[in-house]
């Protein structure tokens, strides 16, 4: 049987680097570089750096 084609985009998890456990889920093209952005973390009530979590083996 032919393998099912991988989708062009993937959902990724951007975790707050304030180590609060807060995260945002975003969608990016599979071939794109990992996402990272400044976003608001409601736990510490500040804009902090969010980095994409390494994927695989959840």
């Amino acid at each position: 049987m032919a393998k099912k084609a991988k989708s062009r985009t993937i959902a990724v998890r951007l975790v707050s680097m304030a180590l609060t456990g807060y995260y945002k889920t975003m969608i990016r093209p599979r071939t794109h570089r990992p996402l990272s952005m400044l976003k608001y973390d409601p736990v510490v009530r500040k804009k902090v750096l969010f980095l994409e979590q390494k994927r695989g083996g959840r």
């Binding site: 975790v15 680097m17 304030a18 180590l19 609060t20 570089r33 990992p34 996402l35 990272s36 952005m37 400044l38 736990v43 510490v44 500040k46 902090v48 750096l49 980095l51 994409e52 979590q53 390494k54």
Partner: protein, 156 residues
């Protein structure tokens, strides 16, 4: 006989207490001759073994009535004249210190275990605080490395 202030004290007591003290006179106020005999008499607040049959008999006063007597005596300030009882204030305080409330771990020198999250709370907040102190530096390097283009350390 008895000094005057003892008589005056006894007149101020409720009949229930005076009856008790008449039947079981406290050692502290007895003349020295009778003290020995009183010391050997069994406490009405304790179970006692019959000297002849060797059988155990219940205390003359039940725990409920002991507690009532203690309460009454405490109100009139003569609690130390009662024989030793587990319902006494001293004993109660000792037990409270030893055991605390009914909750396990509230006695002296004990700790309440708490939930896992409650025990880890301090460490978690400390970790977060450290991360927030590092944040401006981290954002600075992130901006310098092309907003993540050269970033190597991605979180697991």
């Amino acid at each position: 006989m008895f000094p005057r202030h003892y008589i005056k004290l006894a007149e101020g007591l409720p009949p229930r207490l005076t009856r008790f003290f008449a039947r079981y006179p406290p050692q502290a106020i007895l003349p020295p001759k009778e003290q020995e005999a009183a010391a050997q008499a069994p406490s009405p607040f304790k179970p006692h073994k019959h000297p002849v049959t060797g059988k155990w008999h219940n205390p003359v006063f039940s725990l409920r009535r002991q507690a009532e007597l203690v309460k009454l005596a405490r109100q009139h300030g003569v609690e130390e004249l009662l024989p030793h009882t587990v319902k006494g204030t001293e004993e109660r305080i000792r037990r409270r210190v030893e055991n605390g409330l009914r909750v396990k771990g509230t006695g002296v020198g004990q700790r309440v275990k708490g939930k896992e999250s409650e025990r880890m709370l301090k460490a978690r907040l400390e970790k977060r605080r450290q991360a927030m102190l590092e944040m401006p530096k981290m954002i600075q390097t992130w901006k310098e490395r092309g907003h993540g283009r050269g970033w190597k350390k991605w979180p697991k």
